[in-house]
Amino acid sequence: MKAIGGIHPNYNKFTSKSKIEVAPSPKLVILPLSQHIGAPCEPLVNVGDTVKVGQKIAEAKAFVSAPIHSSISGTVKKIEDMPHPVLGKCKAIIIESDGKIDWDPTIKQRDNPMSLDKEELKNMIKEAGIVGMGGATFPTHVKLSPPKEKPINILILNGAECEPYLTCDHKLMIEKCTEIIKGALIIKKILDVQKVVIGVEDNKENAILVLREKIEEMNADIKVIALPTSYPQGAEKTLIYTVTGKVVPAGGLPMDVGAVVQNVSTAKAVYDAVYESKPLIERVVTVTGAVNDRKNLLVKIGTPVKQIIEFCGGYSGAASKLISGGPMMGIAQCTEDIPVLKGSSGILVLAKQPEAEEFDCIRCGKCVEACPMQLMPTTIAQYAEKDMIEKADEYNAADCIECGCCSYVCPSKIPLVQKIKIAKNQILADRKKK
């Protein structure tokens, strides 16, 4: 199925040919207690404690939550509020490195992990603190525990990477294809599904070829589908529609149509957790834009962004925006002191752009055309502006996925997403009250 709406931005995937480099171990890591959707963790360590690499330092008490592990070895310096790329600020555990890389001795590799049963595998994923690494950071073990009345018949690995600039998933699919495929097979076993599909946008032809070759070699029953390149092809509902033709009901979840979607990076993390008994303590991050050396970096989670930018040769121009994530859905930061989190796929520095003149809406309808959720962005934005939240709700503001297509195409340069978000947050808050 052809995706509905969407745009074709300038992709600027500068780093698509640079290999994944290992970033130097940071001297200090900031590990916020909330790196996922759901309840924040409770710290298991106190200030002054020594911790090892991979040691669980914060425990998930709720079901929708994921534990956090130390990504370096050293001592806990502080547990206090720190800047957080998504939440603004959040309580974090700050660990100073001892310069060594001492793994937690209690971590032991399992023999023949594929012989373990589903619950054990799921538990390993939960204990490894794995969350959706595409950016939404939904705890993976929750996604892998669908209720009985929702039978799952397809597992889709999301390798679309439709965000401009970002190449971390692309590089991972090429360099770690075996791990991704093995990770997919683990998830397949847990979900007990027959059909496994990896969706990759057709602008990453080499990744598609490498994956197909490897799958054949491993004789795995996985299909790689070339998706038409368009943004937001990797949005969960859009991806499911393109791959299966099924429409996830508004307000529903992928499991309502029997699908589970996992990012390819998440599959790699699942592999690490099950085969290597390694918790989620590092991830690939694309550092790009106005930095001197654009790189795909394997970064320890918790590394301050400032250090990563320094490692990439610093800013290459008058940097005016620091974005955690991609240019379409990433979050602009006010400080370099934020850490890399489990869901940070990119660090994008944008140079100052000439400010475009904003006009009143001329009703061209381009936002309506571009909206992948088939909403009327300009109408919702106008209601939001007038604080007519009920009207915005009637126009389904709550179904907005904040992909940014409407703002991108708007010739009047109206910050539509910003206005819709205000209405959406208000609607969701009102619904919670009821």
Binding site: I309, E357, I362
Partner: protein, 397 residues
């Protein structure tokens, strides 16, 4: 940051003044600074967002402004030290980052660009008009555009609002106003029409984006109602006055024109309406540039032709004569006064075609394009409401 500085920062945000003096590169200070910035960040996030805010400037720290000259000198010294390596300039973090909602990139479309593109697409029709009706047409066009622009400037000034002529919409209105007038009108007709179009039909409703009726058509409706005799004197291209093909059809029941003349524009009629060829050229350009949507012109022309066929008329004659093509490509596709939904556009095009043919076949006027589009303009808000798309995964209403 002190309260004063915060106020200053907020004042800057609300004024949307993004230009800032160059600040010295800074080093992040220790914890206390981070703490306050975080608190302020939260405070700022809780503030109601200003309505027209594009970007929220977040002032992290007020450092001493450093003169740009010093920077240049530093660069030079740097190069002198290591000339062989050509070191990349290491630029430290700016004193502040711009914080704004996603997306952080936008395409390069703009209202201005679109409007001037429409002006360009109208040029073939205008040139054809001048070719067939010579200086009379040229003077009407010049007078109309000039008075539209002048009206907008004067009213903007009187209302103490920023002058909005640069967006190009006044030029379009003036040009369209001229193109739907007979070349025989006295000089004050285009002037009056443009003044009405800009002052009453557009600016009185709130300016570009807020008007309900297409300004040029509203201007013409005003003129037709006020000076019916003056508005229906036509010039045949050989310099003789006479009737338009549609006029002949209405009066005599037959029109004696060749299809070639109809297509090229060698007939009596409004300045910009006679040459189908020129209009199609302009319309094709707009379609190619994706400035207009195919739905309205297709449905408008298709419905008209279909109705002509159903009632035993000649569809090709009805499509090529009168203002149908100009209306279908340039008036019924006016963004502001037409629906924004895809189905709404289909409905709008159908309605225009239906009403145009109804007036032509059974109405008192020989031509119905103007009234049909104006009537459909009035229905636009309703059509938008009726044709609201069902959201992805939503239930049909």
């Amino acid at each position: 940051m002190t309260d004063d500085k915060l106020k200053e920062a907020l004042a800057r945000i609300y004024r949307r003044d993004v230009s800032v003096e160059p600040k010295k590169a800074f080093e992040i200070k220790k914890e206390p600074v981070i703490d306050t910035t975080v608190k302020e960040n939260v405070k700022e996030a809780q503030k109601p967002e200003p309505e027209n805010q594009v970007m929220t400037e977040y002032v992290k720290e007020q450092d001493k402004p450093a003169a740009p000259i010093i920077k240049l000198q530093q660069k030079k010294e740097f190069k002198k030290e290591e000339p062989a390596d050509e070191p990349k300039p290491v630029i430290k973090a700016p004193s502040k980052f711009t914080v704004s909602s996603n997306p952080h990139i936008k395409d390069n479309s703009s209202v201005k660009n679109i409007m001037w593109m429409v002006v360009v697409s109208l040029l073939p029709a205008a040139i054809a008009g001048v070719y067939f009706f010579k200086l009379r047409a040229l003077s009407v066009i010049v007078l109309s555009v000039a008075s539209a622009v002048a009206t907008e400037i004067i009213i903007n000034k009187l209302a103490k609002k920023p002058v909005t002529v640069h967006d190009g919409s006044a030029v379009i209105t003036g040009l369209l106003m001229a193109l739907i007038l007979s070349p025989l009108v006295p000089w004050w007709i285009p002037v009056l029409g443009s003044i009405f179009a800009i002052a009453i039909a557009k600016l009185a409703f709130g300016g570009l984006g807020h008007n309900i009726f297409n300004p040029a058509l509203a201007g013409r409706a005003f003129l037709v109602a006020s000076f019916p005799a003056l508005m229906t004197r036509w010039l045949l291209t050989d310099g003789v006055t006479g009737a338009t093909p549609l006029g002949m059809l209405k009066e005599a029941g037959v029109a004696t024109v060749s299809y070639f003349d109809l297509f090229i524009g060698n007939i009596g009629g409004c300045i910009g309406e006679t040459s189908a060829l020129a209009i199609i050229l302009g319309g094709a350009f707009l379609l190619y540039k994706k400035i207009i949507d195919w739905r309205i012109p297709t449905l408008y022309i298709g419905t008209s032709a279909l109705i002509a066929v159903i009632f035993g008329r000649n569809p090709l004659f009805h499509v090529l004569s009168g203002g149908l093509l100009l209306g279908a490509f340039f008036m019924a596709t006016d963004y502001v006064t037409t629906p924004i939904t895809k189905n709404g556009k289909l409905l709008f095009g159908f309605g225009c075609g239906f009403l145009t043919m109804a007036i032509r076949l059974w109405g008192g006027y020989p031509e119905g394009v103007m009234f049909s589009i104006l009537l459909m303009n009035a229905f636009t808000p309703l059509i938008d409401r009726w044709t609201r798309p069902v959201q992805f995964g939503g239930k049909k209403r």
